[in-house]
């Protein structure tokens, strides 16, 4: 039905396939050196002339997680069916979403960002931006310039000095937690004793001689922090502080888990654990692409709870939510989801930058619905405010 147009230099299927792999890689999927070969091997096992079978086969081979799996169709269409006007509709939507989906926090000044943005809007109106990338038409230039911009912005966001301050604040907080933990450890050490049962079991391997001595100790039960940080538009001015704070928290030596949310939720623990600050910032901005419009606090918390939450939460977990509480979803839902988190976690602490304001009242409907479930609702608009939280945390 539709004929795929390829650059004249594409020699055969292998060439086109490597083009497709490059296309996927450009769109943020992790592709290894072997993947083109694997995809071709898969195609040889199915009826490759049937587009549907080819699509399903490549989907099974090339995707690695649920996120990739869901958007594979769009990427597949964009590459293999780009010439048809029929397909341009979906391709355009996808493109527009990715382009405009960059959260405002990755932009230092909105004015500077406006230009390439409007540029990308123009690109989306050309139906075959995907295919011509290889030929160096506008589509390619824009597509690569945007992530570069967002990366640079975040590096500016997290300059050395801010980071150091935030880390100090986070370390102080972590110490507040650690003090609690040290009391626990003392108790646990007292119980160290020989594990007779296991010694006996191991002695069988040694002909009945108890050579391997095993001991019993109460396992350390460290407190754990799960931090969920709102990076929506309304939080733009505070996100600098909060991202640095999260980085400090992750690096502080206590068990900590960090997530960013907006309309979607994603785990950034690994990205933040990177010792190279700039590289961590780069990874974060790559991951942040795809964030969109408003804030959906309850939806994000819901997704956290049904996914990561099952493992991340336990009776020794303190959940930190960094958000201003401006939320597009139903406040009742926020209350419900917080009630469920509360059942699984030990404490919920809401750090609200707005609370640092004079005469702040929790007027936002979401905050009113949330308050009954919070163990603490604390101000956090600057690094100083964060540092001042330490005594509060000790009380928890």
């Amino acid at each position: 039905m539709q004929v795929t147009r390829f650059p004249a230099r594409a020699l055969g299927l292998a060439d086109r396939m490597s083009g497709f792999i490059a296309h996927l890689r450009l769109n943020g999927m992790k592709m290894g050196a072997l993947d083109a070969g694997r995809a071709l091997a898969a195609l040889s096992e199915v009826d490759a002339t049937d587009a549907n079978q080819a699509r399903q086969a490549m989907c099974a081979v090339l995707t690695g997680d649920a996120e990739d799996w869901r958007r594979f169709d769009e990427l597949f269409d964009a590459y293999w069916f780009n010439a048809g006007a029929q397909r341009s509709g979906t391709a355009k939507n996808k493109h527009a979403r990715v382009q405009s989906a960059k959260p405002m926090i990755w932009q230092s000044s909105t004015q500077a960002e406006d230009k390439p943005r409007s540029g990308s809007e123009q690109v989306t109106t050309t139906p075959d931006c995907g295919e011509r990338e290889g030929e160096g038409v506008d589509g390619k230039l824009i597509a690569t310039r945007t992530p570069n911009l967002s990366r640079r912005d975040l590096r500016e966001l997290m300059d050395e000095e801010t980071l150091k301050q935030a880390e100090t604040a986070a370390l102080a907080l972590a110490r507040a937690f650690r003090d609690r933990r040290s009391r626990r450890r003392k108790q646990a050490l007292r119980g160290a004793a020989l594990d007779m049962r296991r010694i006996q079991r191991a002695s069988l391997a040694r002909g009945g001689e108890p050579l391997d001595l095993y001991r019993r100790a109460r396992p350390p039960r460290p407190m754990r922090i799960v931090a969920l940080c709102d990076v929506s538009g309304s939080m733009t001015v505070y996100s600098r502080v909060f991202l640095a704070f999260l980085k400090g928290l992750i690096g502080s030596g206590i068990e900590a888990d960090a997530y960013l949310f907006h309309t979607r939720l994603m785990r950034v623990t690994y990205a933040l654990r990177d010792h190279d600050t700039l590289r961590a910032a780069g990874r974060l901005s790559l991951m942040a692409e795809g964030f969109g419009g408003g804030t959906d606090i309850s939806g994000s918390l819901e997704r956290f709870l049904s996914g990561y939450g099952a493992r991340a939460l336990n009776g020794r977990t303190v959940v930190l939510i960094l958000s201003d509480g401006y939320c597009s979803s139903d406040p009742q839902e926020l209350g419900d989801v917080l009630a469920r988190i509360r059942r699984k976690a030990r404490r919920i602490v809401w750090l609200n930058p707005l609370k640092g304001w004079k005469d702040y009242q929790p007027i936002a409907a979401a905050m009113q619905a949330a308050e009954p479930y919070l163990d603490a609702h604390l101000p956090a608009n600057t690094l100083d405010a964060l540092a001042a939280l330490e005594p509060q945390f000790q009380k928890l």
Binding site: K30, V46, N52, Q53, C59, A60, V61, G64, D68, G307
Partner: protein, 323 residues
């Protein structure tokens, strides 16, 4: 359990020995005696009462043809584990299941020496002048755990590694050797190479991030809650005695319940339980047997909060929609 089941390559033969495949090993292609097509997969699974959508069938097809493991993710209760059972029944082969849990280690998943028997053998042979070490570390004294068992079968079994995200990350790393080369190294015996490649199916619920290394070695498919048509086909395949109108109502209510804000959404297994309960009570029409519906909701809703979230009024509304 004769020693012919294992074909160890002894590492004492110099550097080149471990890389050579053992005699009798014809390479991973041996199990592809009959070349399957996509249609075969769908038909075969349907014959076992498992309704697979196109994507899943394709993934299973490729997993068998390419000899690569298949990673299945999705919410609880959509039939991830049942895929493996259906494949094993269809291929008429053994299903070897490894249920993962926190703290699972190599001696529970791969192999362990049977120390008691070794000791007994030593004591028993003391009168005859002792026992040779090579004898002690032979197949006879090896306790095979699921992974080694899967590798030493002669007919390709189905190896189900269930809920891999519950195991620790260290164990995941241990799996890598097995999943990419289908071989296990036992220090005392050497490397055991698979004679035939098992069909490996891993399932995960997304409670932990799996490593990229593991994902890279696997084919991937995501199982979501089934569409209305698929679910009706499943109900028809599993409980053929349920009549058309009741079947439509059951599916309608379950699908509508999944849209509600529930803590644990009812999966396919719950749907089938509920349908079986209703048909066991002789219900023909949900709208006419409201008490039975309310009483059997325990099959669908598994937490107190969910149960409270579906009072009779809500159920009336849902049933009214589908009636």
């Amino acid at each position: 359990m004769g020693s012919d089941r294992l074909l160890p390559v002894r590492p004492d033969g110099g550097g080149s020995a471990p890389s050579e495949p053992p005699p009798g090993y014809l390479g991973p292609d041996e199990d592809r005696i009959l070349v399957l097509t996509l249609k075969d997969v769908q038909k075969g699974l349907a014959a076992q009462g498992y309704v697979a959508d196109d994507r899943l069938a394709m993934a299973l097809h490729l997993a068998q043809q390419l000899g690569r493991p298949l990673l299945l993710e999705g919410p609880a209760g959509v039939g991830k584990t049942d895929v493996a059972k259906a494949v094993a029944a269809w291929r008429d082969t053994r299903l070897i299941r490894l249920q993962c849990y926190e703290g699972l280690d190599a001696s529970h998943a791969i192999y362990e020496w049977n120390y008691q028997r070794q000791l007994l053998a030593i004591r028993a042979s003391e009168a005859q002048g002792g026992v040779a070490e090579a004898q002690l570390f032979s197949d006879e004294f090896l306790l095979k755990r699921p992974l080694l068992e899967a590798i030493s079968e002669t007919k390709p079994p189905v190896l189900l590694i269930d809920e891999i995200d519950r195991a620790d990350e260290e164990f995941e790393a241990y799996l890598l050797e097995i999943l990419s080369d289908f071989q296990i190294t036992i220090p005392e015996l050497g490397t055991v190479q698979a004679r035939v490649r098992p069909v490996v199916i891993l399932t995960a619920n997304g409670t932990r991030d799996l490593s990229d290394a593991l994902r890279r070695r696997c084919l991937y498919s995501f199982l979501d809650y089934p569409s209305r048509e698929t679910e009706q086909a499943i109900l028809r395949a599993r409980l053929p005695e349920i009549e058309g109108i009741l079947a439509r109502q059951i599916i309608g209510v379950v699908q509508a319940l999944r849209q509600e804000d529930l803590e644990k959404k009812p999966g396919i297994a719950e749907m089938l339980d509920w349908a079986a309960a209703l048909s066991g009570l002789g219900v023909n029409d949900l709208a006419k047997s409201r008490e039975d519906v309310q009483a059997t909701l325990v099959c669908l809703l598994k937490t107190a909060a969910d149960y409270n979230a579906a009072p009779p009024e809500v159920m009336d509304r849902l049933i009214g929609k589908v009636a």
